[in-house]
């Protein structure tokens, strides 16, 4: 990249080396060509040539090939990588093929010819200096009439190489299925996704989809590229057919399901999801998609109803806590939270009631409790919170139970700014004494701490704690009272 002018010796060695290889390969090439001719009956190129001769040679930028501006551009683009002007009288030493050149394009075999025809020194030097195209260089030195025969006779390997380097190439000559597949396999072997896709685009245009699909089944890597390409250009229908023919029905179902994301209107979206129900999902996914449809269906009903109730100002809850957003397209749990917030206590017959949502979507006890707790705590409905945990046994005694640890419940309540009186009830329910005390200390539930130390008969800790509370406060008095109680048999 930072190359200065090559010193003389370096140049000399290089050019000598090249000249040698050049001639050497020239022979090989001739031999190869001859044997090829003998073996194959070469397709008549005459017609194609004639056609090509009629067409004006135009480069990708639209300028006639060989024109001054064209050649200036070529010069510039080949020099670009080093950012310096090369001495044109020296063969170019390619230092940075990593910076691909400009001259790529479709069916531009004519460009290559054009260069040779004009005999421009620069195009010669270009091919001279580039060892990668040494193989084809001899054709430039042949009389015009001869190279025409095989100018586009690049092997799959050569073609792929040219494509990788951004050089002119031609895919039209790959007409038999075998040739096409050889080309594809060669592209795959070169590990260049860009070229693989380019070949696939050509195959897509020139093969029936049935044949192409069939061949792709055994070509995993090419298949991935094809699928990705179709996804990117949005050829949904073709993808569906492809997945079908590959027997990848779940992928097909998911891909079709994905389309609902593009539908804005909720009613249309719901109808689309309804249609999705018949797609061949895996059993588990089918349940989820069914849920998705049911959910949206209900959200539409709830939304319409609540919007109306809210605007009419009938219900206090909406006045006090105006809805921040519509419930449409929210997850199930968010919908449950919403329902616990705005529709608590409704009979389970209504779609909007928490009980109904819980049942319809098979929500676990734990999940239901957490969501409900969050919603009721947010509303500071401590009575509802209590009721969530209260169970009656057969004797009619009530007891608080929870499917999750009470220390978690305390945490959630605290995050919802529950007052100490509420918090301490739940801190008291924590079973582990140590955890109970640490929570109580964190949230300043004095009573809990004092009682726990009393129950543990831990006089020392109680005395320590007395030092922490305000002198003369009710807590302080309580500790004094307990410490002076002669009934307690302290352990220390």
């Amino acid at each position: 990249m930072t190359r200065g002018k090559p010193d003389e010796e370096e140049y000399w060695n290089n050019s000598k080396f090249k000249a040698f290889t050049f001639d050497d390969e020239d022979d090989d090439f001739t031999k190869l060509k001859e044997s090829k001719r003998a073996v194959n009956s070469i397709r008549s190129l005459v017609e194609e040539e004639d056609e090509e001769d009629d067409v004006e040679k135009v480069s990708w930028s639209g300028e006639p090939v060989g024109s001054i501006s064209w050649s200036v551009k070529e010069t510039e683009s080949s020099n670009r990588s080093t950012g310096e002007v090369r001495d044109q009288s020296f063969p170019k030493i390619h230092t940075a093929p990593s910076l691909p050149k400009n001259s790529s394009g479709y069916s531009l075999s004519s460009l290559f010819k054009g260069k040779a025809k004009t005999g421009s020194f620069q195009s010669f030097s270009e091919s001279f200096g580039d060892p990668s195209i040494r193989n084809y260089a001899p054709e430039l030195r042949k009389p015009k009439s001869e190279y025409k025969d095989y100018v586009s006779d690049w092997t799959p390997e050569e073609t792929v190489k040219r494509m990788q380097q951004g050089k002119v190439y031609s895919l039209e000559k790959f007409r038999s299925l075998q040739d096409k597949l050889l080309l594809l396999d060669e592209a795959v072997n070169a590990h260049d996704g860009n070229v693989i896709t380019a070949v696939l685009i050509y195959l897509k245009k020139s093969l029936s989809k049935e044949i192409l699909f069939r061949e792709l089944i055994t070509r995993e890597i090419a298949l991935s590229h094809y699928i990705h390409y179709l996804k990117e250009i949005g050829e949904q229908k073709l993808l569906v057919e492809l997945f079908k023919s590959l027997d990848r029905t779940e992928d097909m179902a998911l891909m079709q399901y994905r389309d609902h994301l593009n539908i804005r209107d909720e009613n249309k979206r719901r109808d689309f999801l309804k249609n999705c129900l018949s797609l061949p999902f895996s059993p588990d996914d089918a349940t989820h998609v069914q849920d998705h449809y049911t959910l949206l269906e209900r959200q539409i009903i709830i939304e319409a109803n609540d919007k109306q109730v809210e605007s009419s100002g009938q219900a206090d809850i909406f006045k006090k806590y105006p809805r921040k957003a519509s419930i449409l397209n929210m997850p199930i749990i968010t919908t449950l939270y919403y329902s616990c917030f705005y529709h608590y206590g409704e009979s389970d017959g209504t779609f909007s009631s928490p009980a109904n949502i819980r049942k319809t979507f098979r929500i676990s006890d734990k999940q239901f409790l957490l969501t409900c707790l969050g919603a009721r705590a947010k509303l500071k409905a401590w009575f509802d919170v209590d009721a969530l945990f209260t169970t009656k046994n057969w004797l009619g005694y009530t007891k608080k139970r929870s499917p999750i640890g009470f220390h978690r419940i305390v945490d959630i309540l605290q995050k919802n700014n529950a007052p100490v009186q509420v918090l301490q009830d739940y801190v008291n329910l924590v079973e582990d004494a140590e955890q109970k005390i640490s929570l109580a200390q964190k949230y300043k539930c004095h009573d809990v701490i004092i009682n726990t130390y009393r129950d543990l008969k831990d006089r020392q800790q109680l005395i320590v704690y007395r030092g922490k509370v305000e002198r003369g406060s009710s807590e302080y008095r309580k500790i004094e009272e307990i410490l002076s109680n002669s009934q307690i048999r302290w352990k220390n």
Partner: protein
């Protein structure tokens, strides 16, 4: 805290040259469309562009107005439009619309698309199909490498990860090869190349071919050794919470192209500021690799020193004061500004992390890494999901569970997936499908299914293809084998030992002493052994594709020159700041210097967000 650099640690090569090359080429390309023109820039090219050029540079080359590509109809009145974009179908489609709209209104303009770092045939094909091939000229801006810091170079291709590992599209392989080739021609010749992973192997091949196509001149090598590694060789590491300062800043504030935006909570004013985070920032440079728990102490010590330095003023006479102001004050002020910034950032991060029970989260992560109390971990994750805490965090924990346990038990998988969909939306069905495909979150399979499938398909095709197929299948069925790897490589130190984070003894310090990143451990082992000998079992568990090759100039480099101790590590699919910190640590221990080349800086959130498919 400031580690003394070993006397013999070699100097890093100067990478600013790469910036200059990129800038020069861009200027050249802009001049290819002479005259005034409006420039449309792809959103994610703007920050990289900022690092190498500025608006003045662009204006000097006849760029009139600058726009961000927003996929909307344009308002430009210019006669010449230039588009600086990534080679993406979506963007090219939009350009086609722009051009065809102009055509419909009979408006004549000149258009030029500059693809960076290269163009794709699929894009050109779209131009052709839309009938504007020829109306639009195209060019390539070979801006492969952006130096983010003295020892970090990024390709800024975050899509590499998804394209390559999820979609199976090898479009960036040659790009990686070309990037490597560029480094090779400027800072090489390399003498040794090690690597592991399918993509690494292909990138190596691509690079080798490009070297063969070109000419290598004899020059003094600045970088001797190269290590290539696929991101999917180690997916556990990028999914762990980062606790080293730079990584944590990235997790919380998201460092973009070496620059971070600190909000009002950090600056304790009403405005946000953008700060460059690199070795130029003296305060940052000293804390970036430190475990977060060490940072506060360091910063307060610094603050005290600063106070002392300021206090010198009292009792100075006029002359002394003059010297103080002219020589020291500026530096002190600068340091003051940086200190208060990083103190603010630390405070803000502390607040955020305590709010979400960071300790408990880390405990769960460490248990997963250790394979300890897995049921408790599962209920922690479940509750995380139930409480609808951050979706990406829940997904991260699920993936960590799956990767460390070689997949979830079918009943756990079903139940956790159902709860996840309930909490975060059923359209995440698509995300789950992606995670499964990549092997990030899978169900444990009864062993047989796959082999049956393989032999059935195998019969259909000839041997060569069958080999390829098996390859593809094995990547599908890829097991992480994390536990076995962990034991083999001692990745998880025994938890009963105390780990002194002030004096780290190994790379595990970047994860509070709980885990040595697999990626970095592999690098350490291979460099130590000068190859993969003795690691056969490890590579087998990692699905093979390892290699170690010596170049022609490697054999005579027996004398350990400086370049031999500079190791370029290329992460294909992204690497995290924590891994970079670990490598810096390793470098200090061994007297080596690591240069990290990555397709992008990643972290758990970026990695997982690239898997999301629940948006239109």
């Amino acid at each position: 805290m400031a580690h003394s650099v070993r006397r013999d640690a070699p100097e890093l090569p100067d990478f600013s040259l790469l910036k200059r090359l990129a800038r020069d080429q861009l200027i050249y390309l802009l001049e290819q469309l002479p005259g005034r023109k409006d420039l449309f820039i792809e959103a994610d090219l703007m920050s990289p562009l900022d690092r190498i050029a500025n608006v003045i540079t662009l204006k000097q080359h006849d760029v009139d107005k600058l726009y961000k590509v927003e996929y909307k109809p344009i308002v430009s009145t210019s006669d010449q439009l230039c588009f600086l974009i990534r080679p993406r179908i979506k963007t090219v489609k939009w350009i086609c619309d722009v051009v065809n709209t102009d055509k419909a209104f009979g408006r004549f303009r000149r258009y030029k698309i500059i693809f960076s770092p290269q163009k794709f045939y699929a894009c050109e094909n779209l131009l052709e199909e839309q009938g504007i091939f020829g109306d639009v000229t195209t060019d390539e801006w070979s801006f492969y490498l952006l130096p983010l810091d003295d020892d970090i170079i990024s390709l800024e291709l975050p899509e590499f990860f998804r394209d390559n590992f999820l979609e199976g599209d090898q479009r960036w392989v040659r790009t990686a090869g070309s990037a490597l080739h560029l480094l090779h021609s400027v800072y090489g010749p390399f003498s040794k190349v090690y690597g592991i992973g399918r993509c690494s192997k292909m990138a190596y091949e691509s690079w080798r071919e490009q070297v063969e196509e070109g000419e290598q001149r004899a020059r003094q090598a600045e970088i001797g050794n190269v290590f290539l590694i696929d991101r999917d060789v180690d997916l556990v590491t990028p999914l762990c919470s980062q606790v080293v300062y730079e990584g944590l800043v990235d997790d919380i504030f998201r460092i973009k192209c070496g620059c971070v935006e600190f909000g009002p909570d950090v600056t304790s004013s009403d405005k946000s500021i953008k700060v460059m985070l690199n070795s130029q920032d003296k305060v940052f440079n000293e804390i970036r690799n430190e475990h977060f728990s060490q940072v506060f102490g360091f910063l307060s010590q610094k603050a005290r020193n600063l106070q002392t330095a300021y206090d010198k003023r009292s009792g100075m006479d006029i002359k002394q004061m003059k010297t103080f102001v002219s020589e020291e004050l500026k530096g002190l002020k600068q340091e003051h500004r940086l200190l208060s910034l990083h103190i603010g950032a630390s405070e803000s991060m502390m607040k955020k992390k305590t709010k979400q029970d960071f300790q408990e989260l880390l405990k769960t992560e460490h248990s997963l890494l250790e394979g300890f109390e897995i049921r408790e971990c599962i209920s922690y994750i479940e509750e995380h999901i139930n409480r609808q805490v951050s979706m990406v965090e829940s997904m991260r924990l699920l993936c960590l569970l799956s990767l460390t346990e070689n997949g979830l038990l079918p009943k756990d998988y079903r139940s956790l997936k159902a709860q996840f969909l309930q909490s975060y939306g059923i359209d995440h069905l698509l995300t789950f499908s992606n995670l499964k495909q990549l092997g990030l979150l899978v169900e444990q399979q009864p062993g047989e299914t796959l082999t049956v499938m393989e032999s059935r398909v195998g019969k259909l095709v000839n041997d060569k293809t069958a080999g390829k197929l098996t390859d593809a299948f094995s990547s599908l069925s890829k097991k992480s084998n994390f536990r076995a790897l962990g034991r083999r490589l001692n990745l998880v130190p025994k938890s009963d030992e105390e780990y002194d984070l002030r004096v780290p003894r190994d790379m595990a310090y970047i994860f509070s002493g709980a885990y040595i990143p697999l990626s970095c451990k592999l690098i350490e082992q291979v460099l130590e052994r000068d190859g993969w000998t003795g690691l056969e079992e490890v590579t087998r568990m990692l699905n093979g594709h390892e290699f170690a090759v010596t170049g022609s100039n490697g054999s005579d480099a027996r004398v350990k020159t400086d370049s031999q101790r500079i190791i370029l590590v290329m992460f294909l699919g992204g690497c995290t700041f924590s891994e970079i910190s670990a490598l810096r640590f390793l470098g200090r221990e061994k007297g080596l210097k690591f240069i990290v080349v990555t397709t992008a800086i990643t972290n758990s959130a970026r990695l997982l967000e690239s898997m999301l498919d629940n948006h239109a």
